[in-house]
Each structure stands twice: as C-alpha cells, then as structure tokens.
Symmetry: C2
Subunit: 351 residues, 2 copies
Amino acid sequence: MKNFDITEDPHRRFNPLINEWVLVSPHRAKRPWQGQNETISTEVLPKHDPTCYLCPGNARANGMHNPKYDNSFVFENDFAAMKQDEIMFEEDIKHTFFKAQPERGISRVVCFSPRHDLTLPEMDIDEIENIITTWKKEYTELGNIKYINYVQIFENKGAVMGCSNPHPHGQIWAQSSLPTQVEKTQNNQKAYFDKNGTTLLADYLKAELRSGERIVIENDHFVALVPFWAIWPYETMIISKRSFGKITDLTTDETGSFAKILKQLTAKYDNLFNTSFPYSSGIHQSPTDGLEHSEWHFHMHFYPPLLRSASVKKFMVGYEMLGESQRDSTPEKSAEVLRQLSDVHYKTAKV
Amino acid sequence: MKNFDITEDPHRRFNPLINEWVLVSPHRAKRPWQGQNETISTEVLPKHDPTCYLCPGNARANGMHNPKYDNSFVFENDFAAMKQDEIMFEEDIKHTFFKAQPERGISRVVCFSPRHDLTLPEMDIDEIENIITTWKKEYTELGNIKYINYVQIFENKGAVMGCSNPHPHGQIWAQSSLPTQVEKTQNNQKAYFDKNGTTLLADYLKAELRSGERIVIENDHFVALVPFWAIWPYETMIISKRSFGKITDLTTDETGSFAKILKQLTAKYDNLFNTSFPYSSGIHQSPTDGLEHSEWHFHMHFYPPLLRSASVKKFMVGYEMLGESQRDSTPEKSAEVLRQLSDVHYKTAKV
Ligand SMILES: O=P(O)(O)O[C@H]1O[C@H](CO)[C@@H](O)[C@H](O)[C@H]1O
Ligand SMILES: O=P(O)(O)O[C@H]1O[C@H](CO)[C@@H](O)[C@H](O)[C@H]1O
C-alpha cells in the first residue's frame, strides 16, 4: 500500500474558516477540455465612453448625471437588492418550514477611477490608496447607521463574473443581518479566539510563512497567499500581518502596503493569461454591530474562475453543487505559478 | 411603518436542509441586463455523431470503443476526480491548519440513450424508467463496495453548466466520505427525525401541499416544487410522497411515477424559453455506510442557471460568494410560471 502523497493522491482538505471540506484531484489537471470557451473581449477601451453610465458626467439609468469626478465616486445602486424601509414584522409569521424575515440594507456602487479603461493593476499606488480611503469612509458612514450591522465591500470583475460594465468599479452591500458566509467565518474565528487568545488567521499566517509553499507576495504589513483549502484554481487571500478587525484600523503605512499588494497581486493575475483577469473579490471584516470583535482578523478573498487559459474556466456545477467543491491540481502548484510571475503588468512591461 | 409583505419586501428565507439563509429581492426582477449573454446552440444534432465519444461504437479518449448499446451504457470516467487505490495515511499528518486526508472513489459516466440528440424530456417513459433502473443497479453495485459510503448520481446539462458533450448523459461519483452538502443535509434530517419521529421532507411536503403555492407537478407518488428557500431562479426539487431513503426502495409503481415526473418537469423547463434548458440535477439519498438511516428522505434537486431568457443567466458571484445566495423575484412566482407551462415538449407539440 502506497503512502499518502498530497502532491499526487486525491484527497480532501479542511477549511477552518467556514468548516467545510474541498475535494482535491491533483492528477486531474491535464484532462482535455471540449466544453464551453469564454469569449474574451480584446476591444481596446476608450478613456471615456459616452455610453457608459459610470463615466464622469454621463447619465445613469435613473436619469441622474454623474458628477465630473476626479478619483473615486460613490452612488446608491439604482437596482438595489435591499431597501432601507423599516418593515413591521410579526414574529408569528415564523414557521418551521416557511421561515422568513425582512432584511434592510443599502447597496452602493464605487467607481474606482474616472478612467473607463483602467483596472486596479494599471492604476498608480496613490490611486489605489484613494480607493481604500473611500472604502474606509463608506465602512464608517454605513456602519454608523443604526440598523446596519455588516458592510460587505466587493468587486465583480469581468463579463464571466456577471459584471455588466468594464468601467472599474466595485460594490458595497450593507445590511442588518450577518450574511451566511460571514456568520460562519465569525463563528469559527470566535471559537478559535476564545480557545487560544489569538486570532485564527494570525496563527494560520504564521504557519504559512514558516512553510512558504503557498505564499505569493509578502510585504511589511500584508501577505497574499493561496489558501491551503483554496477552491478556485487561482484563489488567493490577502491577510494582514497585524491582528485587527476592520479597514478603518489600517495605519497610514498599512494603507500603503495594502495598496501595493493589491496592485501586485492583480498585475500577476493579468500576467497569468495575458488578459484582464476576471474575479470576484471582497473584504471580510468586523461587523458594525457595536460589539467588541477581537476574533475578527481583516482579510480579503479573491475568487477567480479561470482554469487554464483566458477562455477556459472551472465550472462549479453538478458534483460541486450537490456534493462539495472540487479542484484539479493543488493550491501549492498555483501558488508557485503566481509567485514566479512578474508583478509588472504585461501592458506596461518593456519588451 | 409598513407591514411585511413577502411578495414585495426584501427578506431572507431559511433552508432547514442545510441551515443556511438566502436573500430574496422580489422587486429586483426587472433590472435591465447589459452583461454577458450566453451563446445558445441552435445546431440540430444528428442521431449519431461519428466524432462523439459517447455514441455507440465510437472510440473514447483512452482508445477503447463503446459497445453498440441499445438503451443506457455505463463506463468508468477516463478523467476521474478520485482513484480507487487504498492509501496509507499517517494520522500525524493532521495539523490545525493543514488538515488533509486521502479520499478513495469511483467516477462513472451514464449514457442515457444511444441517440445523440435525445434529452430526458424527449424520451419515452420506458426509456426514462430504464435510466432509473441503471441508477438503481449502480447505487447497489457501488454501494456494496466496502470503502464506498456515498453514491452521488447527477447530471450536468448544457454548455453553460460545464457539460462538454451534448450526448445525453449523467455521472456518478461514489466515495468514502460524505460530501459537505450531503453531510449537512443528513445532520439536519437526523436532528429533525430524532425530535419528531417523521422525516423533515415528509412534513415539509405536507405543508407545501396544504399551501399549494409552490407546487409545480403532483402525481400519485411524487411532487415537483420550487422550494420555499430556492436559490436559483427556477430551482426545483422532486420529493417522494412516501418516506424512504434510497433509489432501490422505489416500487415498480413509484419508478413509473418518478419517470413521468422527470419527463414532465424537464419538458416544462425546455418550454420555458423554447430551448434545451441547462441545469445541474442530482439525487440526494441514504449513504451506503451500512447504517440504518431512517432520517433520509429521497429527493432530487434541479439547479438551473437561466434567469430570464435562454441567454441571460443568474450570476452567483460577488455578494453571493462572499456573503450569501441572493435571488431576484420570489419562488412563488417561479412556481406559478412553471405550473402554467405545458408539459408537452415544444418540439413535439402540434402547432
Ligand atoms: O466531468 P466533466 O463532465 O468533464 O466535468 C464537469 O463536471 C464535473 C462534476 O460536476 C465538474 O467538476 C467539472 O468542473 C465540470 O466541467
Ligand atoms: O449588481 P450587478 O453588478 O448588476 O450584478 C452582479 O452582482 C451582484 C452582486 O454580486 C449579483 O447579485 C448579480 O447576479 C451580478 O450580475
């Protein structure tokens, strides 16, 4: 009988942040692909697109005009998933099987730049710092609203991720409940903190730095790595070295380091397949419920769908929906690939 | 302050099978779509495709030739996600953060028909019964293998669901562990059964039949409905009226009723957008671990991605990945639409 070799043998790995397993099939990386190919836009975008509802000065769906903004610009989502109205809710509507409760929230859109054609890796560090400052402002402003207990900052990038406009932008959904994934993450961080007196991610990061295998980028204050339990082929996480709970806790130096690692990581992503790399990314941080949350450790997830080229993505379907997440090849391999890639964007690199 | 109106106000619903919430935004159904459109294949398929590795008599990737099969045909997946080898596993590899364990399993492909161009809703009832018989045989055969504790039967249909071949087929992944989603479902069914002495889904089905609002099809032995907590726009579940755990428990009559409801439901799906409707579907049933599982209630999930036309799908990205599943419009609306659709396939309906 052969000894377990994690680089070769099918196995499951455990994600302690959400208490779930992922099936890893290292040997399956080379299966042929005869399925759907994604369309890749090779269109060169203008700096300003008169038909774009996110560009400065242009009209939005509701008829309002965007200001002629200079760096980032925030507005309420015209088709928000939640509403701000307070709703009267009779507890007796509760039912064993038909359990529902009203949810209040606010959705905002954050334009990252007045330039229609610039994505994160192509921006200057101070432009990215400016986005972080906007996120801080929004986290504070939304978090201060009495009924808002959680602020989800995220970005959907690329048509394959359901993004309907290439103008660089992210979203913020702030709401009264903790969303499912955030609640799970909080519960597991809390259990760990109560037991060990340190945050789960501080100790995890120490173990990762000791190992080195999955590290992609390290600077003074942040590390970007492929988590041991990564589901998506090139999934990464940015983790702060210091333990703190929320974006407003970032010092000036940390803000600079965060901007730098964001630029470098997204540049590596674009360089992987010489394409504007699609992903969903988002920050997981302390709720704004007014409670002490020493268990929370600030981090950012990147979930990119591409598998082996700009046009072949990983499908999380069938077995993954009914059974459990599954990946081909190991997180260590992906980390190695990302680590070795240049962090100078291919469009600006001298040839 | 306005009273909670579940047909209009944003709210969360609870899924007792997996203990998770979904965010429902009834008002958001009408937001404009400027994003990615799926490519729809309008190609008329031949009855036999000489280049298809699933058609009778043709060669597969490994060089082997398929038999000239008459109804269904099963073979081992040439690029399986798991392997059958027994692996020696030192317990001390276990680690707080780097927790991994080898997983043994078998993946098979089930061709539903020798015809390259026939999908479930276009097949005769006895052809579908034949597929069910094949599933029973596989469940028994794989389940009897000592190290196999769970048998996941599923189908990925359509290019948008990562299916790389239109020849009608499904898959079976059988393995030593309970996959994450199955384990959650089992735990919640068990807690319910231990408390009430009846299965969760038997009681849920009673409540749904009393309400009627979410029922799509009902026959003597099965009900197809849009679950109260459905995530996907036209998600459905087929639930058996009688409480039993596994496909091999189906009586002859029940097998016939199951075949009928499968045909009718998938015909309604195709009729919705006059297209071969993509989905992932799969059966959740008792593990094959040799234990008594009175808590398990046989059911089948359908997770179709289309939102409002054959080319516009729901993207489960950003907020959904980082926060929680979100749907536009209510399950009740979707059930009404599906209920009112004809169950005679549009290709065969007289015009
Ligand atoms: O095995 P197939 O059909 O090539 O692959 C398809 O189904 C599998 C099981 O749901 C998924 O893991 C793959 O991502 C998908 O492309
Ligand atoms: O709000 P948008 O960008 O139109 O929509 C996109 O992001 C949302 C939040 O992740 C998702 O719910 C939608 O499915 C997706 O298309």
